[in-house]
Amino acid sequence: MLAMRHISKVFRTDLIETHALRDFSLEVAEGEFVAVTGPSGSGKTTFLNVAGLLEGFDTGTYHLDGVDTNGLSDDARSRLRNEKIGFIFQSFNLIPDLDIFDNVDVPLRYRRMKAAERRERITSALDLVGLASRAHHLPSQLSGGQQQRVAIARAIAGDPKFLLADEPTGNLDSLMARQVMDLLEQINEMGTTIVLVTHDPELARRAQRNVQVIDGQVSDFRPYEPHAQPATFAAAAAG
């Protein structure tokens, strides 16, 4: 479980203070597929960075899979991140001078795994995203959708509990976006908890739960739920 309580995060520059997260509380249960939406600049990426231990926070508590992340050393945070969390970015972020195989290898290297086990995991992750035959291509030799599938393979190769995706379909056309979404759903069905930040309401609708972030806070505003709405109207009319 991922549990944030009353988190605040302030960015201070010379001129201004930005309250990127304020009194931010959110729990994501194991196995959930949560979509996070919200206007630009509302703090979605900041939330993912804090959740993924890429960034600290000022006040509040954050438990990741039962571990209180407060006061952990950089080594401990890195190990936790490596073992529990997979990241997927809008711009894929593959390492351009490593081939596909070596890209998927990166998180496994930091886990000090034996070569044989690494190879097995890389192969099965690439199989899952349907790119095993491209193992020795460079990222630049793949299409955008393929690159994002490699990034997904890299994120899940270490078998993390949580997958954090920041607008993974933002750079893809709708067909490719749907393929990526299919893949994420498939991974979620296999048991991985997914938090997906997206601007696309159609994709958000496919998640089990929608969370809206406005101005650094989880909004109380009920997310758009097409099936629930008529029922509410009907209830109001009946009442």
Partner: protein
């Protein structure tokens, strides 16, 4: 993990061969310049008889002109050599374990009939007392030195350098055979092994880096053969010298005197003896300058005779300044390179690399550059020293003896390389590890 860092480093270095070779070359040049200057400096300032530094002393007395010091630039120093009579008195004092008085002679060395066919050669010959070989720990290949008796009532005996023995006898054991110096024939009693003290601390008169002598003969021959010095002879007193005996009795200085004093007590006794000797001479009108009777150990002797000159030290400082410039250059290039791939490093951080792992990965890359630079640097040093050897070859062979890459200079090179790697790599690697990973990710 280390293997992974090396793999990544090699990968990264191969990706920009231009920048990589620039950095390697900078490190190599810096190291080479440092190693060459340090090797030469070390050779020049090193004491070839360091193991006897606490027991071998140059003897100097101030018998100079009461009106002015022997050396205007160093008025505190007594003249560097002694008169014949003072040298004779000091070595006859009986206090030192070994005592040597000597000077540099010259003349033609030639075959004495047997073995013939070798061209006679004008050579430097050291005219010395018997203790020379024991006092300076001179190695013998064949035979040995002569007895003190051979000095007193001079015997026609000689010791050859290994080069002279090579030249006239093809390197064979020539002990018992004879050789001619000028118009006299000497019986060979010993042949030296390899002996190339650099600097030639025991006689700094005509430069500290000279060929060793071709041959050694007893000093007892000086009066009877009227041998003159091929080194320096300095006189201050207007004296009418009309015979060699008159010269030997004059205030002219031309003899080097060295003594071996095994302990502090002997040193004290020797100093007391010198002081009382000078006091006695002063009563008869000599030594009108203040007492300045010195026993100078070899290190100190090299220093006061400025064997390592200040401009030489300056050169070493400049070499290190050059190395610093090279390293700063490398630091700049590394920093630019590392920061240029900050976004990729951010991805690694997001995938689980700790700050320490990022630091070590980058340090490995810097270390690799330094390692290759060091190997190349040592090769360049060897080349540089070789070039110096060729440039300064004969007739100053003693000097070229300094210019070898030896264990000492290799040690220095390794130390400098490690220092260079740390200096060039630590800061950029640390910098890259400090930036929050989320910042790199946004920079995409």
């Amino acid at each position: 993990m280390f293997g992974y860092y090396i793999k990544l480093a090699a990968h990264s270095l191969r990706r920009n061969p231009g920048i990589t070779s620039l950095m390697v070359l900078a490190v190599a040049l810096g190291i080479a310049v440092c190693v060459v200057t340090l090797t030469v400096h070390h050779g020049m300032s090193s004491n070839p008889l360091w193991w006897k530094n606490d027991r071998v002393y140059a003897v100097t007395l101030d018998s100079w002109d009461p009106e002015q010091p022997a050396d205007d630039k160093h008025p505190d120093l007594p003249p560097p050599q002694l008169t014949w009579r003072d040298a004779e008195a000091v070595t006859a004092s009986g206090i030192p374990q070994h005592a040597v008085r000597m000077f540099k002679g010259y003349g033609v060395i030639s075959n004495d009939g047997d073995g013939g066919g070798v061209r006679p050669e004008n050579s430097i010959v050291r005219v010395t007392s018997a203790d020379f070989f024991d006092l300076f720990d001179v190695p013998f290949r064949y035979g040995g030195g002569w007895k003190a008796a051979a000095d007193a009532a001079p015997e026609p005996v000689a010791v050859l350098s290994s080069e002279t023995n090579e030249r006239f006898f093809g390197g064979a054991n020539s002990v018992g055979r004879t050789i001619r110096w000028n118009d006299r024939v000497y019986r060979i009693v010993g042949v030296l092994g390899e002996w190339h003290p650099a600097p030639t601390f025991y006689d700094l008169n005509n430069g500290a880096f000279q060929d060793p002598e071709a041959m050694y003969v007893p000093i007892g021959w000086a009066p009877s053969l009227e041998l003159e010095s091929a080194g320096n002879t300095n006189c201050w007193k207007p004296e009418s010298i009309d015979s060699f005996a008159g010269f030997l009795a004059s205030e002219c200085i031309w003899i080097q005197v060295w003594v071996e004093l095994p302990d502090a007590a002997a040193r004290t006794r020797m100093q007391a003896w010198l002081d009382s000797y000078v006091a006695g001479e002063r009563r008869s009108g000599r030594f009108q300058r203040p007492d300045n009777n010195r026993l100078t150990p070899i290190d100190e002797w090299l220093r006061i005779n400025e064997v390592v000159r200040d401009d030489n030290r300056m050169l070493v400082a400049l070499a290190f300044a050059f190395l610093a410039v090279c390293l700063i250059n490398t630091v700049g290039l590394l920093l630019a390179k590392f920061l240029g791939r900050a976004a990729i490093t951010g991805v690694r951080r997001a995938l689980g690399a700790s700050r320490r792992q990022v630091f070590l990965q980058h340090l490995a890359e810097a270390g690799m550059i330094a390692a290759v630079g060091a190997v190349l640097g040592v090769a360049l040093s060897a080349l540089g020293l070789h070039a110096l050897r060729v440039m300064y070859a004969s007739p100053r062979e003693g000097f070229t003896g300094l210019m070898h890459v030896n264990a000492w200079s290799l040690g220095v090179a390794v130390a400098i390389a490690v220092g260079a790697a740390l200096a060039a790599g630590l800061y950029p690697a640390w910098r890259i590890g400090r930036i929050a990973p989320s910042v790199y990710l946004k920079s995409q």
